[in-house]
């Protein structure tokens, strides 16, 4: 990481963008976009994350080593979620768990495991 002083102007521009994106994500939620409400929320959240990471956390000016460590972390998170979901969504053989707060409904589950 060569020392890089980011000008205040850049910080202010990123700040304004983050506030506008917060207003946008809140505003979009009041329109019926069907499943695209979730897509829009996530796209905006990822955009905001990138702005914070690249400018506020100076990763744009960081070494390749630091970038690789961060990408590896995010990649591992993607594996965690993707493989867990792949397992969950293809388990046709597990019964629907039903109301989670009723322990007696979990009994058939447990007996199956034993």
């Amino acid at each position: 990481m060569s020392e890089h002083i980011v000008p205040v102007k850049t910080y202010l521009a990123v700040f304004v963008a983050l506030i506008l994106l917060t207003a946008l994500t809140t505003g979009v939620a009041y329109f019926d976009l069907g499943p695209f409400n979730t897509v829009a929320a996530l796209v905006i959240a990822v955009t905001k994350m990138l702005l914070v990471v690249l400018f506020f956390m100076h990763v744009k000016y960081s070494s390749g080593m630091t970038k690789i460590v961060i990408i590896a972390g995010v990649f591992w998170l993607a594996i965690l979620i993707a493989l867990t979901m792949a397992d969950e969504m293809t388990r046709v053989w597990t019964p629907d768990p039903g109301p989670w707060s009723n322990p007696s409904l979990l009994l058939p589950f447990v007996s199956r495991l034993l």
Binding site: I5, M49, V69, L80
Partner: protein, 228 residues
């Protein structure tokens, strides 16, 4: 810079003996902090992964639960945290450019006030209110009124926002230490690593909230209710 010998470096005292120069030291500081933050990604990641599973199993209950939260407080708190991230980078900027101690301390204290405001809004307007409404699983939950699916959503809500708030409280502690260190004149344009890596932590906590806000408050859109 890299070929600079420690013997000829007038600022060698600011560089720990295992490093060649300040640049290498900064690189190691930042990399070490990022390694910690990656473990934090996995820490919160387990919660996000289980959130995804249960939201896919009970989409309707998650939507109903989400609509019980007040968007205006969630959005306000998002803005408060973004402001605190700005004051944090400005504190570091002041240290980098050799501004006065009082300038650094002003921005650090502003960051702390905004952080405290976040927790205040969360506690006073949201959590206490949720308790009164019977929305706190295990402590005061009105199962007859809301049903078990909403109870599950509220478990996620309190776990995720609670863990986030705990990180905020730890962040406030770190900022207090930074204020004391700044007052003692520990930082200069040549050495400000504690400010730098604490900033990384503070922004990371901000990013967690950037995801929590839409995932908890904005599920399925608000168009049917028009908010509260």
């Amino acid at each position: 810079m890299a070929a600079h010998s420690r013997l000829h470096d007038p600022h060698a005292a600011e560089v720990a003996h295992q490093f060649e120069d300040p640049e290498q030291q900064r690189e190691a500081d930042s990399l070490g902090m990022w390694t910690f933050l990656v473990t934090e990604i996995m820490f919160f990641g387990a919660l996000f992964a289980s959130y995804v599973i249960y939201r896919s199993l009970y989409p309707a209950a998650f939507e109903t639960g989400s609509h019980l939260l007040e968007v205006k407080f969630g959005a306000t708190n998002t803005a408060v945290l973004i402001c605190s991230s700005l004051t944090m980078v400005l504190a570091i900027y002041c240290a980098q450019t050799g501004k006065s101690k009082s300038a650094i301390i002003t921005f650090l204290v502003l960051t702390m006030l905004l952080g405290a405001a976040f927790i205040g809004i969360k506690l006073h307007f949201e959590w206490f209110h949720d308790y009164a409404e019977g929305l706190v699983p295990g402590i005061n939950f009105n199962l007859a009124k809301y049903g078990s699916g909403v109870e599950l959503f509220m478990v996620f809500y309190f776990f995720m926002t609670g863990l986030h708030a705990l990180h905020m409280v730890i962040g406030l502690g770190i900022l207090t230490v930074l204020v004391v260190m700044t007052a003692r004149g520990r930082f200069s344009p040549r050495y400000y690593a504690p400010l730098d890596i604490s900033g990384l932590y503070w922004h990371f906590v901000d990013i967690i909230w950037i995801f929590l806000f839409p995932l908890l408050y904005l599920i399925g859109g608000r168009y049917t209710h028009g908010g509260h």
